[in-house]
Symmetry: C2
Subunit: 428 residues, 2 copies
Amino acid sequence: MGIKLGILGLGTVGTGTVELLSDGTGRHPLLSEIEIYRVGVRSLDKPRQVTLPDSVITTDLESIVTDPQVDIVVELMGGLEPARSLILKAIQCGKHVVTANKAVISRFGDEIFTAANQAGVYVMLEAAVGGGIPVVRPLKQSLSVNRINTVTGIVNGTTNYILTRMRSEGGNFDDVLADAQRLGYAEADPTADVDGLDAADKIAILASLAFDGRIKLEDVYCEGIRQVSKTDIAYADKLGFVIKLLAIAHQDNLSAPLSVRVHPTLVPTDHPLASINGVYNAILVEGEPIGQVMFFGPGAGAGATASAVCSDILNLVAELKLSTENANPLLTCRHHDYSQIAPIEELVTRFYARFLTKDQPGVIGKLGTCFGKYGVSLESVVQTGFQGELAEIVVVTHDVREGDFRQALAEIRSLDPIHSIPSLLRVL
Amino acid sequence: MGIKLGILGLGTVGTGTVELLSDGTGRHPLLSEIEIYRVGVRSLDKPRQVTLPDSVITTDLESIVTDPQVDIVVELMGGLEPARSLILKAIQCGKHVVTANKAVISRFGDEIFTAANQAGVYVMLEAAVGGGIPVVRPLKQSLSVNRINTVTGIVNGTTNYILTRMRSEGGNFDDVLADAQRLGYAEADPTADVDGLDAADKIAILASLAFDGRIKLEDVYCEGIRQVSKTDIAYADKLGFVIKLLAIAHQDNLSAPLSVRVHPTLVPTDHPLASINGVYNAILVEGEPIGQVMFFGPGAGAGATASAVCSDILNLVAELKLSTENANPLLTCRHHDYSQIAPIEELVTRFYARFLTKDQPGVIGKLGTCFGKYGVSLESVVQTGFQGELAEIVVVTHDVREGDFRQALAEIRSLDPIHSIPSLLRVL
């Protein structure tokens, strides 16, 4: 007579979720009131790690989201369609929804949450960001008493694994990526991870929660890690930094537009995010009056993600036990408007740039003069290396408006002794 | 027309709480429904950072907890009495309670939660552990779907500050403590912090949440940091460890008794807790299937603690908006029985021990033989230093039952070449 779940998808996370729910000893007693009522799969013939009665498994996913018996639909299929349509249909049918689908939420959150608010149901998404790390619920229920000004995350395990190995082994991006693919830490098509798209989905979701406004995914500036070379990692090390793919959402003050972006970043070695290594994720939240809090843990994996999915289910079960017509204001989506996002040119940040130049006197002077013309002042200049005939010059700037910096670079590129600018990275 | 708060205490945390609630822009909109209705203080004449109407402030604390108008009592006085009696009286009068008082909860939680369950009110305590870090709510509402096996915390900022400075400066405990007192990081009477009592209160609370059973505070084994010397910190460094005051709650399996303890510990430098420095706190939770998650942030301070207090108030306001007679099972205390705690002799752990011995051949052999007799095997033996005429020998053992290790030490103490055993620390 418990709460009936309709689970869509029995892949890695679906299997982990069924396993967790099927073995309640030592877990929250409320889990015992949950019944795995229907599980939708693409194919009945595929061998499975978990055994479920034939009456539970079906390939008719639509029949699950429309079944009047189902209380909660748990969407663990991934991908945009049919996940989006099934979520919307479930909402129309008055089901609460739990999803781990960052891609759907970051693209169609507007549509989904508007529908959910109209239907008076909850859409829960703890598993969409940070795998097992409790961060969505703390943002909504705990940290929202603060004026949050910055959310900074290492939210993609694959890129963090690659960057961590490149640093520890001095390896090239291509070699480490190939090995990561071989070991199962990176997909055969690594685009979503290494080009920062997965991290962009996640920071769009985190930003909407932290800054209480919807985010257009196309407004999120996104740069991946393909350009990060072992040379840059070595220079960064010398300068006291590690390179991390950071997803950042920041607001200077309550009336300023947001900056929401994903890019490889030089992080000072004593920064809390600098020591997050391997496939781990971490999300640092800064606000007033709390200061800095950070959430650290496994960003992916069957068990970790199942923990997040099941915590959402647990919270819905608790809510359903209250038998009230009123919606819990801490579980609903409370924003309707889109946040204003500043273009990347308006960003004020420090930069790291690596130049290859002819090996002749006066080059650093020319660089400095040109930077000065656009208001770019330099924090440090390093000239140590050579690449063949060319001298290598690395600069770190003080804070500068990105648009000004880019103008300076355009002019520098045309200077005679400048051969190329192989790397350009932002500094935290 | 909002939710009426009766706040007890207007010290550091009380002031921070009033300041946060009085300035709602950019925070959760639900905070605007809160009215600071009464604030109880010891003296009306004390100069205050916040201005409140005369009609709000009173020295009659009992009148606040019995006032039929008050919905939520926020206890921020600290100390055992009258805090305990006022909390109990508030509960009797049907008020929900928010408290930051770890000392009261760890000693009288049994009485308080039993009364709260009977009266159908909530007692919220996010601020009692980890300052601003959301950890109580994540443990109750998110991580409780896991079988938690270990909670390991750096939960006392003062001792972490002292140990961090001892390491970075090579300073003595007494000197660094004196400086910490001068700078306001340690109290004039530092006993509760440096002897581990504050950390014991907090791990008792965390253990009761994580392992779903009440904890008798006197069962918590507690050792402070007075015995940690700069010599040990230097040896630990050489061996690849940092020394931290850890509060640990662990259960080997679901039928095993808990181990709940506070002691200075050698932590491997690549462990997530090793890089938590200064006054920061962090709580690492390990469970199945989630693996490791860690919560990091400011463990004390007006703003951080006010954030935790106000998040509890926010959650109560949300609950009150639901207008239901049913209690939310994720907010009530769900355990009634005391957990069984194993005596410290049953602990299985690695040890670090430092011996001062006569400088003569064969001492290490004698040590090893005696350890072997009691089943203690050694992971490493270092002999580098001299203290005056005496040789210094440092050993790190493999895992050993603490009772066996102590028996071996008792026999070693009686060996002729052994002068003394100045340090004895556990290793994570």
